[in-house]
């Protein structure tokens, strides 16, 4: 796989910028469908949450992490503290670290585009870039840049459409907040395909239920995360022995 990754031949080096963009457009079409729809749901949700409308495009440009943005709307609207928001966001996005670790080599020669590539490595962009290679004759770094930029533009456009629709018309959006529950359910099922041992799910689930029963709904999150972290490292030997 790595052999085609860094084709530095003059032929690919000199490929026109337009060619990489034209190759990236059809490759990102599935993400277009997903990001515009879920981005619009995010915009609608934010508009109905009572947060100012500027927060939606601001988050989609600068945070650009779907699940964290949905969660963030709920946390900010319910008055969560900065430490809680920081910890929950960091831990929720911890899975992006796996993507980074597996792309250390891939992005090592991306030059000026590298910071943008690194900061926009979402679930979908990673999934796409780790399965779809640049067509022959297209500079792979340029291709990866356009895939990343197009994906973010879809997310931004969806957000904008949803925010405007939610800000202009009074939709009955009661229940739309369930999209976050559904999103987490999907991400959790996806996790079970990667981490098959039931141990981390059971251990952290017990921490969540315990914190809910002991501290109540509004103060359970950080203690549950902390307890699960301690428990996870205590179980490290067993988890790593299983592989």
């Amino acid at each position: 796989m790595e052999s085609t990754d860094h084709d530095d031949s003059p032929r690919t080096r000199g490929s026109a910028p337009g060619a990489a963009l034209r190759a990236a457009l059809p490759a990102t079409f599935p993400v277009f469908l997903g990001y515009t729809t879920i981005g619009a749901a995010f915009g609608l949700l934010l508009a109905s949450s009572g947060l100012p409308l500027w927060a939606a495009p601001a988050m989609s440009i600068f945070v650009y992490a779907g699940a964290a943005q949905f969660m963030g709307v709920g946390l900010i609207a319910s008055g969560a503290g900065l430490a809680e928001i920081a910890a929950a966001t960091f831990l929720l996005n911890l899975r992006h670290m796996v993507y980074g670790l597996s792309f250390l080599e891939t992005y090592s020669r991306a030059g000026a585009r590298k910071p943008y590539l690194v900061l926009t490595l979402t679930d979908e962009t990673y999934a796409l870039l780790s399965t779809v290679a640049a067509p022959p004759g297209i500079d792979p770094d340029r291709f990866r840049f356009w895939v990343s930029a197009l994906n973010q533009s879809y997310w931004f456009l969806g957000t904008l459409a949803g925010t405007l629709a939610g800000g202009l018309a009074a939709f009955d959006t009661r229940g739309l907040e369930f999209s976050l529950t559904a999103l987490f359910t999907v991400l959790l099922i996806e996790q079970t395909r990667k981490v098959r041992s039931p141990l981390p799910y059971l251990a952290s689930g017990a921490c969540a239920v315990g914190a809910y029963l002991a501290l109540g709904p509004s103060r359970m999150l950080l203690p549950a995360i902390g307890a699960a972290g301690v428990l996870l490292f205590a179980l490290r030997g067993r988890l790593e022995a299983r592989g």
Partner: protein
């Protein structure tokens, strides 16, 4: 709502997200990755996603009718759809639509 607090909250989210994406590249540019990093990156997500998924149900009133039935039904549909088609969009839209319908019927 206080604009400054919202701005600070978003800034914190930007920093936390950027950290998870940039840290591997900043820290392990030419150094060996220590064992606890892949461990944390591998087993952290299933743990946090379990907690966050359960956290979504924190405000459900289990003692009064309808005893969380809309939430459970919609989550079950989301899971079934995802196990069946593995299409993220279909699973989320299907589950959310069912929930929005059920709470209007109740």
């Amino acid at each position: 709502m206080d604009s400054f607090r919202i701005l600070a909250s978003i800034a914190v989210m930007v920093a936390a997200t950027a950290a998870t994406r940039a840290l591997p590249f900043l820290v392990f540019r030419d150094r060996k990755v220590p064992g606890f990093v892949p461990f944390l990156a591998g087993y952290g997500p299933p743990a946090i996603l379990t907690i966050l998924t359960l956290y979504c149900f924190k405000d459900v009133d289990w003692t009064a009718a309808p005893h969380g039935a809309p939430e459970m039904a919609a989550a079950a549909l989301t899971a079934v759809l995802h196990l069946w088609r593995r299409n993220t969009l279909l699973s989320i839209v299907g589950g959310t639509a069912l929930y929005m319908i059920l709470i209007r019927l109740a």
